[in-house]
Symmetry: C2
Subunit: 768 residues, 2 copies
């Protein structure tokens, strides 16, 4: 892998020069999407080199048969998997009878650009074919945010050294497979191939899940910037439809094809309307024209950036990194559809079945809450509410009763999509993140109504889970939680994981607190929920007996909570004393060796202190940070951001900055040698938090008051970010010498800055 | 599964009546083998119903690609798997042009018998074909012990209600696959199909491992007991050769085919000699004739039974059960080839890749040591010695250095054949069993020479493993062993498993003890081994520092060693209080629930007390038995035997008998609903121990003295067994009223009976 080939640029991701070794990595990095659908940056024309083809539609999944070496009771037989969708971007390009294929041509002046400010992908290059024709190609493509079922391509070919004929053969190919199919099965059935004049579509449905999708294309052609009408030759195959157009050209002429594509799916239409809707989409797009569509695209992204941008002065790579993170998060999830969520690879790859992890609640909600309307975060919460029945089923499979719920580790539709027992069955702290997400939302927005309307049912089901999952230890005269995996997945089947026990106790207490509030303020909802869940207050007393008597492993000697029982039996050798040849340990060491070592993959005890910072004294956090960080290897993409934020909160800016560097350009610099499989979307929200919560020190304390404590890495000139706080836009600017807050709203805003209360009048700024 | 269909009989396994539901179970139960090769009891003629076809050759394996859901560092990419071999038993039988197929005929008088006394399998039935012909079939088959590459079939068809033509088409089919192939691959390549007159063979080789095998057949035919010569039609296909013979018959006539089959393999021949050797095998067999071969078979089994039989009076099912166990053990392993070992399914199925488990050292060696020449046990030990290099490689993969060895959990050739991290990497107590096997052999035989010649190198490599695997715990000021799975596989990744720590300490101590003895008595061997292993006594002092300071979890309250750290945090609810609907828990509960429960799959702490009984006081064993047995679910086939023996040793005969019943007819009564996959061979040695060591109370104490303490279950009239003790045959008889010892050797034997020393003169018996 040729690392660091991305050109530093404040607003664009740029690749200069063609290197076949980078094709798959670039296909991930230059991916485009609009939250509803997306695609890897595959070439439009044929490419015979190594490539990973991928187009994805949000919410369309397939239950793939589980593959394991040795079956354990409780594994899901099938699980939902991100599905590669029919390809509409393809265009065979033939020059005087010779196929254009970058793998066989001499290429020069190759440049690829992902313009994040405006939301489009472009590519230009000169190619000399083996048959000696020289051409200059430029192509631009985007997935529309405004018309969110539509994408558009402009593809130009200039004849440099010849006259003759250029043949464009745009096609739809529904014969796609998943790279990660467990049994090489085909997941789509083709129902209908519809041909027409310059437009056509294929209706297909997914096997088993029976999602119906129509994939349409519409073509127009131009020569030297003037539309031309060209005779169409149609080829219909079982799973593919291809139109061919031949354009006569002279040396210096430019032949252009515009291709508009669309997906319509049974998530949004009746099956019988899918084809006409898709065809009408592409026809409207063509009538609007490529340029008008592009204008609206630029406008959409301008609106997104107005509330989401982070400006960093004095460090182009840091600027590029943070914008790439924000851009990809927006491409993955726009927040308008409660059926969708934030896949760990977004629309950039298909690794990991399913799309939703506890990352959403623990890492992503703050970003969406602060950069978008609060409905967006609410939709993320509702996603889990809508899957509560499946979470209860999931818990029943594992032997829980009485409406206890265990949310899946990974899911698309509520079904568990993972099958390692130590994760699937034991990494149960995820259940607590569901409740933390609600708490975080209520606290940030002060919109408590979500609790009586939706959240309370989830909270009761999760509290029931914790109550049943803990057991009384006669030896300790306390309640213990045995056999878990904490956020640090480098420990499995451990007892009394501090983070898990803490969350369990907190979940019960917060649920009972909310129950009391709902009883008092939302009588109708209270009656409805108590009746629906068959809950009595007697039951909650039993829960409280567990939470009141929860056991937490603690070391008097080190004055720290221990990650788990027996942690001090390990040899505590700091990471810095570990030979470099041994790292990353997840590539160098066998699993047993990792497990019995002291090394921590990502924040675990510290994750609790990050989420519940206000419950701990600063010295306590320092002590735990000093105990755990030196033995943390940060081999999860979710690790550095949390440590960056905690380090900033205990005034250790060099450490905070070091950790920030590790999170912000993870994919652009391909630290983990795996970007070809797709980008790490959810950890990008952690990068955003590292700036806003870490350097900016933003908090919303339990009393609902906004607070900042801005610091700046000495390597930067300044940084600035924007947040949407309960509908009020606040801009924060911090340089080495100045700290400024601008209240763009119509209301006075009260906040704390460095522990001092300040009031900012409407439309005014204040320098602190 | 229709259980309990096997007729009680002292010497035979008998099935009366045809039930298609029982076909696969009977194919397992009626399996035949001779320690070098074996086969399931598949029908010779075609059968279109459910069947599991299997023929196996000892030592011929295939490295199948590992399949997992999620890869962990350290898993083997490939592992050796028991290989289904070309089928030579098949005979298409056609009556007047109509194929005989029990799945389509009316069947009556069906009987199948496995005669264990004489070592043959027979089958007889009347069939009415859909085309109305009625026939009576009788067939007999065996795998010769004396000519151990050869098997023979006699197959008779009597025409009951018609005249016409019977066509026999015997064949060799090399187009076989493994049922458990991970990727449905074909494992054999066919090299040559050799046709001839009444004989033929196929030469094939295994892919990757390149084992070459020739499979031959030789045919002769008879009518009404007189040999007939019949014209042969030959059909050669790519992977199959078939000869056809038509015999004209009248009503009442009997047509007979004799088929002799043979495998020769590159384990024993040069590749170019395989075909001629196989063809010569079957020709010799034919010349000897079926009846002479059968006579020699009966003689071979008579010799085996003369030292291995256990006679139980007063309980036919118990008698049948123990003989079935002894018979299958002998069919699986005869002990004459140090390249072979005792597969958990023998030649009765292909479940579980690989063939050798720690079962061999912990369960099987005592049986072979006491019922055969001591060379047999020595061959079993040498098997591990020969695989020492691979065990060192295996340890290196997991990060161990300096010649430390970790023997694989399951293997065929030294390579690890299992890939669950909690087993493969963590169930390391198996390494101790390797040393225990040596200790047990030396102690029983007093043949110490095995240690300097072979064993010491293994011991040093294993001691090095334990030294590196333990780590110093500052918190405990002791050495601890973290992250293991004990014999009780219902706990994973636990710390300080008592059994594992005990074995580790013992291994080091025994190794140093042997080192000192070898230094003193075998100077040349000592120098050779020290130089080969680069060992110094300084290194052994470091080992001893670990063994001297090994940590053992102990409960003062219960006065028992704890199975592992934190065991008392569990809810200790006895198995008898568990609802019957919840059992077996391995079928009813998800894995996490099993793990965090207190339930024990098989002896763990008690396994240590079983192996090292002389190191514990009787009261101590009682206390541990009373603590652990009530929470033991005995869901491993290896559990009841150990508990039966321990119960007998603490004078609890009802418990000992209850446990004996669970072990002795496990397969015959198909307790686990899985006998169709094959029989549980290794636990059968545990059944033998339950009689000899349990009821008979046989021990060889550390001073090398033989000792008995016979008891008898009140349900039996008497039992008797024979042991070979250092070349001396001793017969033990115990009834409700009498206890008798017969010394068949030429030497006086000294032994303890009920703690009293007795001397038995040569060829004399003594009643105690």
């Amino acid at each position: 892998m040729n690392k660091n080939y991305i050109e530093p640029n404040e607003w664009s991701i740029i690749e200069n020069g063609f290197d076949a070794e980078n094709v798959e990595a670039s296909e991930s990095l230059f991916s485009i999407g609009n939250g509803a659908l997306g695609q890897r940056a595959n070439f439009e024309e044929d490419y015979s080199g190594k490539t990973f083809q991928g187009s994805y539609i949000g919410g369309i999944y397939y239950p793939d048969k589980t593959r394991v070496g040795w079956w354990k009771n409780g594994y899901p037989e099938y699980f939902a998997k991100v599905l590669n969708a029919p390809n509409w971007i393809g265009i065979h390009v033939v020059i005087n009878g010779n196929k254009l294929d970058l793998n066989t041509c001499k290429i020069s002046n190759f440049q690829r650009e992902l313009n994040m400010k405006e939301g489009w992908l472009s590519r230009s290059f000169n190619a000399e074919l083996p048959s000696s024709e020289k051409i200059a190609v430029s192509a631009k493509r985007f997935i529309s945010i405004k018309y969110n079922e539509v994408g558009a391509i402009e593809y130009n070919v200039k004849a440099i050294n010849f006259s003759g004929e250029i043949e464009f053969s745009p096609y739809i190919d529904a014969g796609v497979m998943n790279e990660d199919a467990n049994y090489d099965e085909f997941f789509w059935e083709i129902l209908e191939v519809v041909e027409g004049e310059n437009s056509g579509c294929i209706l297909s449905k997914t096997l088993k899940t029976e999602f119906h999708v129509s994939t349409a294309m519409e073509i127009s052609l131009a020569k030297n910037n003037k539309e031309v009408l060209v005779a169409q030759k149609t080829k219909v195959e079982e799973k593919k439809i291809t139109y061919s157009y031949k354009i006569d050209i002279n040396e210096g002429d430019v032949a252009t094809i515009f291709k508009f594509g669309s997906y319509t799916s049974s998530l949004n239409y009746k099956n019988e309307d899918l084809n006409s809707a898709a065809l009408s989409n592409v026809q409207n797009a063509k009538e609007l024209g490529f340029n008008a569509l592009l204008e609206s695209q630029i406008k959409s992204w301008d609106e997104i950036w107005s509330t989401a941008d982070i400006v960093i002065e004095g460090d182009v790579k840091a600027q590029q990194g943070i914008r790439f993170n924000i851009f990809q998060l927006n491409q993955t999830y726009m927040g308008t559809d409660a059926r969708l969520n934030i896949g760990p690879k977004g629309f950039t790859g298909e690794k990991y079945g399913g799309s939703t992890y506890w990352d959403t609640e623990a890492y992503c909600i703050p970003f969406y809450m602060a950069t978008k309307d609060q409905e967006v975060a609410k939709n993320l919460l509702k996603y889990r509410y809508n899957q509560l029945d499946k979470a209860i089923e999931n818990a029943e499979k594992l032997g829980f009763t009485n409406g206890a719920a265990l949310y899946p580790m990974v899911t698309m539709n509520g079904e568990e999509c993972h099958n390692e027992w130590e994760i699937t069955f034991e990494e149960i702290h995820r259940n607590g993140a569901m409740i933390y997400g609600i708490y975080n939302y209520v606290n940030y927005t002060q919109d408590f109504s979500y609790v009586p309307e939706y959240g309370l049912e989830v909270m009761i089901a999760v509290a029931r889970f914790w109550y049943q999952r803990a057991n009384y230890s006669a030896a300790k005269d306390k309640y213990v939680i045995l056999g878990v995996t904490g956020p640090n997945e480098y420990e499995n089947n451990i007892n009394n994981n501090y983070y898990t026990n803490y969350l369990a106790k907190w979940c019960i207490e917060y649920t009972v607190e909310c129950l009391n509030k709902v009883k008092h303020d939302y009588t109708n909802d209270f009656d409805r929920v108590m009746s629906k869940t068959n809950l009595t207050f007697e039951e909650t007393y039993k829960w409280l007996n567990v939470s009141d008597n929860m056991y937490f492993p603690y070391s008097e000697e080190h004055q720290v909570y221990l990650q788990q029982d027996g942690f001090l039996d390990k040899e505590l050798i700091p990471v810095e004393d570990l030979d470099a040849s041994q790292r990353p340990i997840n590539q160098k060491w066998s699993w047993d060796r990792i497990l019995r070592s002291c090394y921590i993959k990502q924040a675990d005890t510290l994750q609790g202190m990050f989420l519940f910072e206000d419950k701990f004294k600063k010295e306590e956090i320092e002590r735990h940070f000093d105990f755990y960080e030196p033995i943390t290897v940060h081999e999860s993409s979710l690790s550095p951001c949390v440590h960056s934020i905690l380090a900033a909160s205990i005034d250790r800016m060099p450490k905070a900055y070091e950790m920030y560097l590790r999170t912000s350009r993870l994919d652009l610099d391909d630290y983990n040698h795996e970007v070809h499989e797709g980008c790490h979307i959810t950890s990008m929200a952690g990068t955003w938090m590292a700036v806003v919560q870490g350097f900016g020190g933003m908090r919303v304390w339990e009393d609902g008051i906004l607070s900042f404590n801005p610091q700046i890495p000495k390597e930067w000139k300044s940084y600035a970010f924007t947040i949407n706080f309960r509908g009020n836009i606040i801009k924060v600017y911090k340089s080495q010498t100045e700290c400024k807050f601008l209240n763009e709203s119509e209301k006075e805003i009260k906040m704390y800055v460095n522990d001092t209360e300040i009031l900012i009048p409407p439309k005014k700024s204040i320098i602190v």
